[in-house]
Amino acid sequence: MGISVGIMFFIMAVVAGWLLKQSFSTRPWIARTTIVEGHSGSFPQPSAKIGLWVFLAVVTSLFALFISAYTTRMELGDWRPLPEPPLLWFNTAILILSSIALQWARHSADSEEIGGVRKGLAAGGLLTIGFMIGQLVAWQQLGDLGYHASSNPANGFFYLITGLHGLHMLGGLVAWGRTSIKVWRGCEPAEVRLSVELCTAYWHFLLVIWFVLFGLMLST
């Protein structure tokens, strides 16, 4: 559980530190008007972006807990590591490419080139679908070799963690789909800029999560 405690405590420390900094030198009992001026939110960023960041903290917590469970269970005697199919390397490469494609879309949205946004989004989405198909094929290969979820906890964790990562990708694809529909109906780049930016951030995040999970499975 050490990893989860560490990560959770880190997140809580950031929250607490930020809150204490906000509150330390204030004298709330004094009525005053000047503070009424200016921005009302805590951050200048749009709310949707803050919402995504909070959500990413939740997802971090979720995967940290899975990793904790993984490492705890691993220490028990019956753990037999499974051979990671080489296909996973290929899938990883595809996922990296999809992140790059979305970054390109984001860049194009910033410089108001709707053509680039379209191409970037299309490439990113197709590559992601490719990644997910690749993951399913990897499941198939492992299954054919006799590595079923129930035969060893290592196998169980493999299916569980990759499946959950895939589900999060699927959720991302829903947001991606909504953005893509808007773009294909022909909207201004400014209208989808935020959506594209948030999709891109989410993809990068899931890529990092995948690196961590893949690294964990390779090293154990």
Partner: protein, 592 residues
Amino acid sequence: MAYVAHDETAYVAPLEVEEEHLYHAKTWLGKYVFCQDAKVIAIQYACTAMGIGLVALVFSLIMRLQLGFPNTFAFIAPEDYYQYVTMHGMIMVIYLLTALFLGGFGNYLIPLMVGARDMVFPYVNMISFWVYFLAVLILVASMFVPGGATGSGWTLYPPQAVTSGTPGSDLGIILMLVSLIVFIIGFTMGGLNYVVTVLQGRTRGMTLMRMPLTIWGIFMATVLALLAFPALLVACIMMLFDKIIGTSFFMPAVISMGEQLPHTGGSPVLFEHLFWFFGHPEVYIVALPAFGIVSDLLSTHARKTIFGYRMMVWAIVVIGGLSFIVWAHHMYVSGMNPYFGFFFATTTLIIAIPTAIKVYNWVLTLWHGNIRLNVPMMFAIGFIFTFINGGLTGLFLGNVTVDLPLSDTYFVVAHFHMVMAVSPVLVVFGAIYHWYPKMTGRMLNDSLGKVHFWITFLGTYAIYYPMHYLGFLGLPRRYYAMGPTEFMPASAQSLNQFITIAALVVGAAQLIFLYNLITSYRNGKESGDNPWESTTLEWQTAETPPGHGNFGKDLPLVYRWAYDYSVPGAPSDFLPQNLPPQGGSAEGIKED
């Protein structure tokens, strides 16, 4: 301290709000069913939570009937008893208290108290309620499947939760786990809303440190819930795998009914870690909103500034942080390295410090206050009593050596009911008496409220005080019936009967409350906009109940904190948060 700040630029033009994209429902369904207005969602949450909570209340009374009068009621079989215990605990903690405090009060109060028109993501908010509703439906469905609901205790410990012999070990436990997973998904959607609205949706002038403590409590509880519920999610998913696919994450090799199950080598203790990693923050998910609300009730009805506002905020934040490193004190009896036990006992006892600060501050808020003993105030003061009680027995149980012999007795039942069942529920009642006028425009009946309070408050003592004693005698909890035992005196059974009768009376008293809720909706005295003469923004709305968009044309501007009661030299004994300072009318404090 003067109540005004001297300020030459006292006049501030009303905030020019750009036309926000408020969702306007066009159909009846959109207005009352799939509504995106946080106030309607709040009431939907509250009604669903209280409805399922009533079911859980009835379950507890059935349990008490069995315990007080064993071998009397043929319709309570041992399997039923364990199902009632499990459902009572699970519903009360998660489907009632969590949903009511965060989904109910959070939705109603956050936008109104911080001066927002609505939550920042109203659509997601609406979905959040319906996902929660689905979770409740799945939970109810689990009671009607073959085998019935799970009877494994609300902690759902494997291996017994999924092996035959435990009631509901097939479909019952599966639906329970699915319901929890659905609940967590729905809560996450709501939780994102609460956090981001507090961070981003505040009106101008509403700095973090001018927020009412209610909002601080709900905010911090939501942060905890967002980070802690994933632990329960992980535990539920892995247990589903164990149950359905036959993996061995938690399941050791088990011989059940003479048959070797397919599992080998899993770790039930791993489940306990995951469960309590969620379970302990859950205590504070329920407690922190109660802390916040009770602070506001005490200050408002004592006509006095809350004592030590900043300290109260920091205490909430510190309690939230510490709640992640105490979970294993629920697992002392599972056996652990003595150094771990020492660590967790220490962190547990450290939490008593910020908590004690809060209790002292509540009492000091009452000190020299101009106390108005309204019904919400009675519940708030009642909370201080029950919370101190439950908190003090927590100090006993936090120590490994004291916990070990007491852990499986009624002492623990008494402790956690006092500290995290009765106390938050008293706050829920106080809060409903307090905000019902804003929700409906009518007051709840005062006399009925007082009867409800005294029966509930004294009744809980009649129920739980004897349980401490029974625990010291060694009466084990979780048992369907004691049967003849050497170590239990016969008087213990008569005490059990007394507890049961008290529980039935308290249960019946809740009908008074329900009657009051329903009849006052039509016949209650008209409340006006601000019946309690309160400072916070929700009482300063143009209409009561507030319309769609909460504040009419202009959002309020906030000039002061929420606790300007009985300010020396002020014309009235409360100064609303949106009341501008009067430049020069008293000797002011210079702006810093």
